[in-house]
Symmetry: C2
Subunit: 161 residues, 2 copies
Amino acid sequence: MPSPSQAPAAAHPPLQPQPTSLRASLHDRGQRLTPQRQRVLGLFEGLGEGRHLSAEEVHQRLLGAQARVSLATVYRTLRLLSSMGLLQELELPEGGRRFELAGDAHRDHHHLVCVRCGRTEEFENPQVLAAGEAAASGHGFRLVECVLNVRALCPGCIAND
Amino acid sequence: MPSPSQAPAAAHPPLQPQPTSLRASLHDRGQRLTPQRQRVLGLFEGLGEGRHLSAEEVHQRLLGAQARVSLATVYRTLRLLSSMGLLQELELPEGGRRFELAGDAHRDHHHLVCVRCGRTEEFENPQVLAAGEAAASGHGFRLVECVLNVRALCPGCIAND
DNA sequence: CCTTCTCAATAGGCCTTACTCTTGAGAAGC
DNA sequence: GCTTCTCAAGAGTAAGGCCTATTGAGAAGG
């Protein structure tokens, strides 16, 4: 068995959990998480800042990435993700319709969680994003998003200690 | 319905996912993840550095935290967690047996994951730990561990882009 | 040309069932 | 006194069934 930390040569690339929890968003609408939907969204997440793609481009890139997704599904998925607010539709005057990732806002969005009672606080910290950028570029990666999970004891549980 | 981000008044405190994935470790041994096991391990994680507890102390603290766990289960669980290497047994000359969290080593242990192909790299960065400490103390929390997940595109996928 | 629709085949995921690991209480061991 | 054992009740979770959302291929619409 090959090392689980390495990329497979080809075939079906493994899928990663989505940041916004695509799973949950779909679930709320009574819809299902499928490999195709994950791949389309993942494709946009992997793009550099502000880049947009047409349906045909999405289709071609997925085929190039060894992910067999039909064109009809690409169109359906783009429409779905747009209606969910995850993608934004652009109407370029010259070309046709294009899509880009919506809400590229909080790329560093962190959590402080009490290990005892579960209380959760959120915070932001640009230094964390900087550390993420450093680690990414240090390994030749291009950063998409970074999330810091701080496990801790909250004031109430410390008092109760 | 109360805010999900706040600690419940009492009763059964919610449980958090374990860092080392207690779930997986148990599963490999054909054993199950139970609230009692999570609570005992969580109790040790919430302790300050190098602190140790006797079985009776564990029992009392759990009762104090509104977690009804029988003494027999405390003993069984301490033995189990020790055999799994998550706790370490101390034989103090004066008192009786005591336990402490083993491998308090990597409290800042981070991941770089390719959103396209799933390739994963690990790295460490003391600045992240510092940011975690800052966030924790800023909110009155006491840090236990912090994990940074950097979602990115790996060199191979960038080339294939 | 670009996009949506049709429809049979596929598969995500909820639910139920069953198995056996765990727990709680108290007795027993050391 | 501290720790482990006994055993019936309880609960985690793997497996299988089922329902229906989703997909792929190609035709149809604009």
